[in-house]
Each structure stands twice: as C-alpha cells, then as structure tokens.
Amino acid sequence: MSSTYPDDLRYSKEHEWVRADGSQATIGITGFAADELGDIVFVELPEPGTRLQQFGTFGVIESVKAVSDLYAPVSGEVVEINEALRDQPELVNDDPYGEGWIVKVSLSDGAELDQLMDAATYGESTAG
C-alpha cells in the first residue's frame, strides 16, 4: 500500500494533513491513516467555533478496528465542519484528501505549518 502524498499539503506525525489557503486551512487524515484504521464508521466532529490547539485532540474517529483521537496539526478556530461525514464516514477512506476532509479552521499562527512535515518526509516516516 504505497500511498503517495499530495505535495501541496503539510503532514503531522499523528497522520493528519493540512491544506493552507491564506488564513484558512483544511484538515483531514492521511491515506496511510485511513488504510491503517480500515473502514471508518463514525467521525465525531467539533462544533464550529471550537478553538483547536496544535497537537491537541479535536475529535474522534472510529473504524471497524478501533476508536482513535483526532489531533489538530495546527491551532485555530473551527469555521466549518464536513457535515457529509455524518452520513458518509466512508468518504474518509474513499477520498481522504478531497471529499473526506474533516474541518476547516482559521489559522491562528501560520508559522506552525513549519513544524509539520512535507510530503516526502511524511512518506519516509510511514514506510515500514
């Protein structure tokens, strides 16, 4: 399962990705994480307006195998959540970088992105 990781994203060691677009950022989990978790059956999303702390937990993702915390790769305030996941949690498996996004936040500190990995580094960290 040699996933390739989109070059325009930044990655955390907890297997979340961030797509920064100006002061806003979209967050999801990586294809590697989705594969490891297996079929996702439930995503517990934060309320819009929730303030996320970088590397703090912000939700829960449940698969047929396990229940895991979601970790925020960046700090910020939740401006939008992916409502589609309530009925179709499988979007996270099917399209982790697209329709399977989880939350959008307004970035508190763009410099935090520098603490995350680029695609190549993340790819190396998951090669086992």
Partner: protein, 543 residues
C-alpha cells in the same frame, strides 16, 4: 453434516423469512433463520395467562395511575407463536452460533472461559436462587455467610486487607477504586493538588476512561522495548501532582511487569496510590498476591477469573480489594460477621460445617463515616458470588494455582509452536495470553489479521481477539486458558500453520473466508455505518 449443510437444511425447512446478505461474495442473500416476527401468526400463544384480578386489570389498562401521555394508542406488535415454535426458533439460532461448550474459543477469560457446571448447580439451590435482596438478615444468614466467606477468600487470594463485593463489573470496580483514591487524597488535604493519573500504554482502555470519569487528567506512560513499563519515563512523570498509577498486570501484552517492586516504590515515594487492574488475575493465582506486593487497590473480575457467566453484556461482578490505607473508604454496607470468632467460622466453613452461634449482618449505615457510600444496590450481583464461591471452593488453593499454571503453560506452548509462522513482537515468556502480529502476512501477501481470523472460523474454532492491544500492529491476541487439552491446542496450531501457508500459496482464499459458516464475510462497516435494527412489518407496520 457440515455447519453449512446444516444451515442450508434449516433454511429449507423454514422456507421463508429473514436473510443475511453476503455482500463481499456478491451472492444472493441466504436465508438462515426467519425472524420470530415472521414466524408469528395472530392469536397463537406460548402461554395462556389466567384472568387478571380487577386491580391488575386496572393497572394493566392504565386506568388509575398512568397519565394519558404515557399510554400507547396501539398495542405493541409482539410476536405470536406457540411454545414449540418458540423453542425451535431459539434452538436453531443457538446451533448457528459458536460457543465454548461447542468448541475451542481462544478469546479466553477476557470474554468467557469455561464455566464449570457445578457453579450452576450451586446457584440453582433454592435457598440461593429464591432468596430476595430485601429479606431481613435473620432470614438471609446463608447468603450473608456466603458473601462474608467470599470476601475472606478473595482477601486470601489477593493479599489485601479488605474487599467490597458491590461493584457490578470490572470497570465499575475501577471506578470504585478511583473514587476511594480521590477520597483518600481529599482526606489528606491533597484533593486539589493531586490531579493526574498515570496509565501505561499497555493498560486496558477502561483505565484512562475511569480516571477521566473521576475527574483526573490521564498521562500515558510508554512501554519499553520489552513490553514493560519504562521505569525512567515513569520516574520522570511521577510527582506530587500524581494521584495514582493504574496498571494492568499482567499487561494486555500478556507480560508480567517484572520491575513491579521498583514501580511500586517509585509510586509510593511520591505519595500516590498504586492501582492494579486485576482483569488478568487468571495468570497469577497462587503465585502473586498484589496486596502483599504493595498495591493499594485492585478489582477482581469474578466473571473472568472465577468463571461466572457474563454473556450478552452481563451480569458481571467486579469486587475491589484494598490495602490498609483505603479500608476506611470502602463502599458500604459491608457484609460482616456480627457475632462469632472469625477464625473458627472460617475453619468450619472450609471443612464444610456451619458455626453454631455465628451471626452475619450488614454494617449499620453511617458506621464508617469516611466510606464513599453505596456503589450498587444491595450487596451486588449475588448469583455471581455463589458461582465464584463454588469455583474457588471446588478448586481449592492448590487447584487455583494449577488453573493459573496451566493457563500460562498453554499460552507459552502456543507461543513457541506458532513463533515460526507469525511475528512475535515481544518474544519472551508470557503469562496467560500471547500476542502475535499478522504484519508479516500483511506485508508479504496482503492478508490482514482480519482475514486470518475469518479463516480460523473455517477450522471450527472461534478466532482470538484481534487488533488489540493497539500498540501491536495487526495484533492477534491468543488466550487458550487452562481447560484445553494438548490435542485441542495441537489442532489450533495445525489450523494456524495451514492458514500461514495458505497466505503464501492462495491469499485470495483467505480474503474470501469464512466459507463453511452459516453466513460468509459480513459487511461490518455497513452494519456500523447504517445499522438496520427495526423490522418492517409491511404496509401496516408504521408505528
């Protein structure tokens, strides 16, 4: 006849009804057994009740008491079947299931080890079975005596100063233990300052959940490369903010914490409480007494170690044992020996005699002002106490030690016999369970641990626990328990070798497994994402 053929016969005989789909195989839905609703016909009855009294009739029709909003407009559509059809339906369903009374079940004591039938004999004795929890002490002396004696046996087995039988399950025992921990720190004026509970990553998931429920912050301690607690990490984290360390010992890796003395000293040095999750006690009976070692509190799972049934989520029993410093905080009321000499009563009881003049009672409310109070109505799940008491007494001290020794021997036998076929992330002598990893099969053949588990079903064996503990990739956690013969263990080894071979030669067949069971690979994700739990009664079924 194979299971599949038998299932086919059942389906043909029933001729209609509910279906389990087998979506991964893409086959037509297979009828296994109709729902009881589909076997229903208006007016059929298994039981005919006598005419109710006028008062009962009024209650049943809600005339005197129930507000109008609480009354149904239409009667519930309960199934209507004869007693014989009812019996056949549930007997057929039970034959579609796998149970420890039918075959090997290496989920072990974690789910349910073998429950000797003598336990059921004892629990069915009318004096126990027909007793009522609000009977006065004078007419419940036998039940109170059994509870007191069970507490004494658990004290002896664990080395703790005192035991409460009240908690209804393991996690409830944990909660009780942590409530006592909080009460202890509060009594010492440290309730505000001790805010953290340390939990190793090899602990049961209920441990951090319990700590959170009591209001503590959980701090995870990583395991070292040998699967034990990283002592340096522990020492670096322990301080005056620590309320307790909660450890599962043996851990979920099936490994006994061999630095336990150092762990306990470090915890006590900072004034924290040492909690042991006793869920894995089946490995250490007669070999290790946690209370004597220095733990302050532990829960027992009577429904695991002491072989009481807990199918379908209940009832369990999770008594807690405590060291001297937590005794004042124990839940109450406790069953006590109100009159009589404890040594004499115990000696007589172990010799099968009662003691003339001995009197048992429940503590007077308020007699221990520091008690955390009741955690369960009455004295707990009494039927479980009778079974656990019977198990302990019928085995005796030497027998219980043999239980653990055999459980450990069986797990280590499998560890050695299967080590060539499956990866062993922590390759060392284990206790009652051994944790393999299916990562070799996943990497080389694209066969997951789930596929391996499903293929085990085709050997007539229930799969072991999979994907737990979380710290092992593609985990396969095998707990054979003490009751399996060498021949059964060898059959399991053969099955696991056959599956490992087939992972190389024909991995596709494993991905399609199981093929001999009444239903094939179920759509687990679909069942969780879109559960369909209601029966559609057809056009008139709207409620």
């Amino acid at each position: 006849m194979s299971v599949a053929e038998r299932a086919g016969t059942v389906a043909d005989a029933s001729g209609r009804g509910a279906a389990f789909a087998s979506p991964s195989a893409g086959e037509a839905a297979t009828v296994v057994e109709p729902l009881i609703f589909e076997a229903s016909a208006p007016g059929r009855r298994a039981v005919r009740f006598p005419q109710p009294s006028e008062r009962a009739r009024r209650v049943a029709t809600g005339q005197p008491d129930l507000p109008a909003g609480s009354l149904r407009a239409t009667a519930p559509r309960l199934p209507e079947v004869s007693e014989l059809d009812l019996l056949r339906h549930f007997n057929r369903l039970s034959q579609l299931n796998h149970a420890i009374d039918l075959g090997f079940y290496p989920l072990g004591s974690c789910t349910m080890k073998y429950n000797p039938k003598v336990n059921e004999w004892a629990a069915a004795l009318p004096g126990f079975a027909a007793s009522h929890p609000v009977d006065p002490a004078a007419s419940s002396q036998g039940s109170l005596e059994l509870e007191w004696l069970l507490g004494e046996l658990l004290r002896e087995i664990s080395g703790f100063a005192a035991v409460s039988l009240q908690p209804a399950a393991g996690a409830h025992g944990e909660l009780t233990g942590m409530l006592m921990t909080r009460a202890y720190h509060r009594a010492n004026g440290q309730g505000e300052t001790r805010t953290r509970v340390l939990v190793p990553d090899s602990a049961h998931g209920t441990n951090p959940a319990t700590a959170s429920m009591v209001g503590y912050e959980t701090v995870t301690i990583r395991s070292n490369e040998r699967g034990g607690i990283d002592l340096d990490a522990l020492r670096a984290t322990l301080d005056e903010r620590t309320a307790a360390l909660m450890i599962t010992n043996p851990s979920t890796l099936g490994i006994f914490e061999d630095q336990i003395d150092a762990v306990l000293s470090a915890v006590h040095e900072v004034g924290a409480i040492a909690y042991m999750d006793g869920a894995n006690l089946n490995a250490i009976l007669g070999r290790f007494r946690p209370g004597e070692a220095g733990f302050d509190v532990m829960h027992f799972n009577l429904h695991k170690t002491f072989s009481t049934p807990h199918g379908g989520g209940g009832p369990g029993a999770g008594p807690v044992g405590v060291g001297e410093r937590l005794v004042p905080f124990l839940p109450g009321p406790q069953p006590i020996l109100a009159e009589g000499d404890p040594d004499t009563v115990r000696r007589n009881a172990w010799a099968g005699r009662s003691t003339p003049g001995a009197r048992f009672a429940l503590e007077e409310p308020g007699s221990r002002p520091e008690s955390i109070g009741r955690v369960r109505m009455h004295t707990g799940n009494f039927g479980m106490f009778v079974r656990a008491y019977t198990y302990i007494r019928s085995n005796g001290g030497a027998g219980l030690r043999a239980v653990s020794d055999d459980a450990v021997l069986a797990a280590n036998y499998l560890r050695v016999r299967l080590a060539d076929a499956y990866d062993l992330p922590y390759d060392r002598i284990c206790k009652h369970e051994v944790v393999f990893s299916g990562r070799r099969q996943k990497r080389a053949n694209g066969v997951t641990t789930l596929d391996i588990a499903k293929a085990i079903l085709d050997h007539g064996i229930h799969p072991p626990t999979i994907y737990f503990p979380l710290i092992v990739e593609e985990a396969l956690m095998i707990e054979p328990t003490e009751t399996e013969s060498l021949e059964t263990l060898d059959r399991f080894v053969e099955a696991m070798h056959e599956i490992a071979d087939r992972a190389g030669s024909d991995p596709g067949s494993l991905r399609r497994a199981p093929v001999t069971t009444p239903v094939g690979r179920l759509d687990e994700a679909g069942a969780a994402r879109r559960p369909d739990l209601r029966h559609a009664f057809g056009e008139t079924g709207a409620e």
